[in-house]
């Protein structure tokens, strides 16, 4: 195969347990976002715009939706003669190993895939985040610093810092310490889970790590600290655009709501950086004479006869007369009857909400976000006994 300067490896095997019903039958990177996208569209589109044409997508948890969604990658311009997108699920090997034991192990188990392209650098991405980023600029920085590893970082609040891998650097962005989810963070510089490595070096660390019993085979916990201990040059690459980890119902809801401001920080309407996605081939949305729509995003294929305020509607959603939807995210092909009231909720794909149903947070906790998921039997029971408040965290 033709040699590549850089190959991207996208970690897409995570379950995203905190997304509850949303990830019961699909992996977190396949979760819907922003009226038409799935989370994985962001790293894939970023690769496409950054000129990275060889991407391995590592899947493990509930991969069916993800595999069929990615296909040959033509939607992201990844159906290439040299390179392209490759779905890499775990496979059984001669020594009997099967599942990926950690992020580093997942890459280790696909050494042969990467070696085919004999790349100078490997870009490790995660399929969990919403952001637009030019990886090519990061690569230029990585080369300019002559780094062994470059980690893309972003400033977060001290409170958030406990949820991320934190990076401590000197004034030249050289990293001297790496802490995975520290109880007492020393800085507010968080790793975005975007790593560039010199492939030859990473390769040797992966080989070494694979032999070590009792490690978690993880980049943040094992590989990066080991490299630091050995005095390798690790640099932080500061990123100041929009970046959101949508790991919880709350943060997924917030990220959707972020799009509804007049000038959102994440501009999805940039003709030079389109986020590519599978197109569902829907006709233009129909806004009826009885509809009221404000501060909202509505996708094609919707029929709106009720009121939609500060909400995101995915494709093919129907909203009956007299219904009022506020501060909510309604996923594809949801059918909402008439005189339904939905407030602060995420309603998942294909749900049917009967007439006169009320969905919203319980009065004692009005800031809660309600997840209405077809995978949740409690919710289904509640929906059947209509006009009840459904609350489920």
């Amino acid at each position: 195969m033709k040699k590549k300067d850089v190959v991207a490896m996208l970690l897409a095997g995570g379950q995203g347990k905190r997304l509850k019903g949303l990830t019961k039958t699909l992996a977190k990177p396949a979760v819907y976002f922003g009226g038409t996208y799935r989370i994985i569209d962001f790293p894939l589109s970023n690769c496409s715009h950054s000129g990275i044409d060889t991407v391995g997508v590592l899947t493990q948890y509930e991969p069916l939706v993800l595999h069929s969604y990615i296909g040959v990658g033509s939607d992201w311009d990844m159906d290439r003669l040299n390179g392209g997108v490759f779905v890499l699920p775990p496979h059984e090997r001669e020594d009997g190993t099967t599942w990926y034991r950690g992020t580093a192990d997942a890459i280790f188990r696909n050494l042969k895939f990467i070696d085919q392209y004999d790349p100078e650098h490997v870009l490790i991405l995660s399929g969990d985040h919403i952001y637009k980023m030019d990886y090519d600029r990061m690569l230029a920085y990585h080369k300019e610093k002559d780094a062994d590893c470059t980690i893309s970082v972003i400033e977060v609040s001290l409170d958030e810092a406990k949820r991320f891998g934190m990076v401590n650097t000197d004034e030249n962005y050289r990293i001297y310490e790496f802490e995975e989810k520290p109880a007492q963070p020393k800085s507010t510089t968080a790793s975005m889970g975007v790593y560039l490595f010199r492939w030859k070096l990473l390769r040797s660390y992966l080989l070494q790590n694979a032999e070590l019993p009792g490690t978690s085979h993880d980049f943040g916990k094992d590989i990066l600290p080991n490299m630091l201990d050995d005095g390798k040059t690790l640099y932080a690459y500061p990123f100041d655009g929009y970046w959101k980890d949508v790991g919880t119902i709350q943060s997924l809801w917030e990220a959707n709501m972020d799009l509804l401001s007049e000038k959102p920080k994440l501009d999805l309407n940039d003709p030079l950086w389109r986020i590519y996605t599978r197109n569902p081939n829907q006709p233009a949305e129909y806004i009826s004479p009885t509809a009221v729509v404000r501060n909202s995003m509505i996708n094609e294929g919707c029929t709106v006869c009720g009121e939609v305020e500060h909400s995101v509607l995915f494709y093919g959603v129907e909203i009956g007369e007299g219904s009022v939807i506020t501060d909510s995210v309604i996923m594809p092909k949801v059918r909402i009857g008439s005189h339904v009231r939905i407030h602060r909720a995420i309603v998942t794909e294909d749900m049917v909400i009967e007439d006169h149903t009320t969905i919203g947070p319980p009065p004692e906790d009005p800031s809660q976000i309600v997840l209405v998921s077809g995978n949740d039997e409690d919710v289904l029971k509640l929906l059947q006994s209509s006009s009840s408040h459904i609350n489920q965290g």
Partner: protein, 367 residues
């Protein structure tokens, strides 16, 4: 279906939509918020499983070629067959064919290479959701030489006057073909016949100086041929004038028409990867079709917005069709207008047409 190959013949479709066809042929005219007229016949052929389509074009086909590409949105990028856009490239000095028959004579290779035994011949002006497999089955059952597809119209309108009309008896046999413009049996410029017979008749036509297959081969021989009439009963519109374009477009704001055109089967078009439409704080939208990429902060009533239209605060749009990427400035008033692509109307302007005669602005114009 491997038994059928498609021919979309645009040769005698005149560019009658005034400003909208200054720079493009009728088949490439944007329609219904996100489509081009040709998408409907392409999608019907796709749903019938047709894998070979020849498109005979003559003029102003650049935008059509850009739109169709290699035919991927209609699943026509096939290893064998697929979509062939065939503009005039006629270099045979012994060629005596004339009119549209030149397309057939000069593209015999296409017909011979395709594995299909039957052809579906169509134009692009009649919009329908016709099931071409059903027409094909009907054609076989009737044992006909050719099957013409028609629809009955309750009240013939202006656009039906220039159509060809059919008399069809109870057995589904076409007894006459004529131009009586008040007649209710409207021929949809769509027929199915065996490929070998089609080529044989085309050859005969060429040899006798014909120039129009339908007129010279089918209509002239209507009493000799066994012609079946397939009655189509679904959504139908014919767009052959600016008035019919405007009326047909506006009629899609009626949910019955919208559902019968779009909900029976999917209609495919070139994909643009636009973000879902955004309705801002001052948006006041009712009875409208809106495509992705729009940003609306004004009033939109009884109107159709194509992809990527911006409506600024205080603007109002009534009974209008606004095509791709137009920008409607603050406090602009538009009523009964059609704006072609990329038109920019700067703030405070007022443009008004008549409901029967909309005011049209050609593409790329700034006011």
């Amino acid at each position: 279906m491997r038994e059928l190959m498609g021919i979309i013949n645009l040769e005698h479709e005149r560019d009658v939509l005034n400003e909208l066809t200054y720079y493009r042929c009728g088949a490439a005219v944007p329609f219904a918020s996100r489509y081009r007229l040709i998408d409907f016949v392409m999608s019907n052929m796709m749903h019938a499983g047709i894998q070979d389509i020849a498109l005979f074009v003559r003029r102003k086909y650049r935008s059509l070629m850009d739109h169709l590409g290699e035919g991927r949105p209609w699943d026509m990028h096939r290893k064998r067959g697929g979509l062939f856009i065939l503009p005039p490239d006629w270099n045979d000095e012994t060629d005596v064919s004339a009119g549209e028959l030149r397309h057939i004579y000069n593209n015999l290779d296409f017909f011979e290479r395709g594995a299909a035994k039957y052809i579906v011949h169509s134009g692009s002006q009649h919009i329908s959701t016709v099931d071409l497999n059903e027409v094909y089955e009907y054609h076989l059952e009737q044992g006909a030489d050719v099957t013409l597809v028609y629809t009955r119209v309750d009240k013939p309108r202006d656009e039906h006057r220039s159509c060809t009309h059919l008399d069809v008896n109870e057995d589904g046999i076409v007894t006459d073909i004529h131009y009586e413009h008040k007649h209710d049996g409207v021929y949809m410029e769509l027929f199915v016949m065996e490929k070998s017979l089609f080529l044989e008749m085309a050859d005969h036509c060429i040899a006798h100086g014909g120039s129009n297959f339908f007129r010279d081969a089918i209509m002239r021989n209507r009493h000799k041929l066994n012609i079946a009439g397939y009655e189509y009963r679904g959504y139908h519109a014919v767009i052959n004038s600016l008035e019919s374009y405007y009326r047909t477009s506006m009629n899609l704001l009626n949910p019955t028409a919208y559902n019968s055109l779009f909900r029976k089967q999917s209609v495919h078009t070139k994909i643009k990867y636009e973000v879902p439409a955004k309705y801002l704080n001052s948006a006041d939208v009712s009875n409208a079709l809106v495509a992705n990429g729009c940003q609306i902060d004004g009033e939109v009533k009884n109107s159709i917005l194509f992809r990527g239209v911006q409506v600024k605060r205080g603007a109002s749009i009534h009974n209008s069709i606004i095509m791709q990427k137009c920008v409607i400035g603050e406090n602009v008033r538009l009523e009964n207008v059609i704006l072609d692509k990329d038109v920019i109307i700067s703030r405070d302007h007022k443009l008004q047409g008549d409901f029967r005669k909309p005011f049209v602005i050609a593409k790329d114009i700034s006011i």
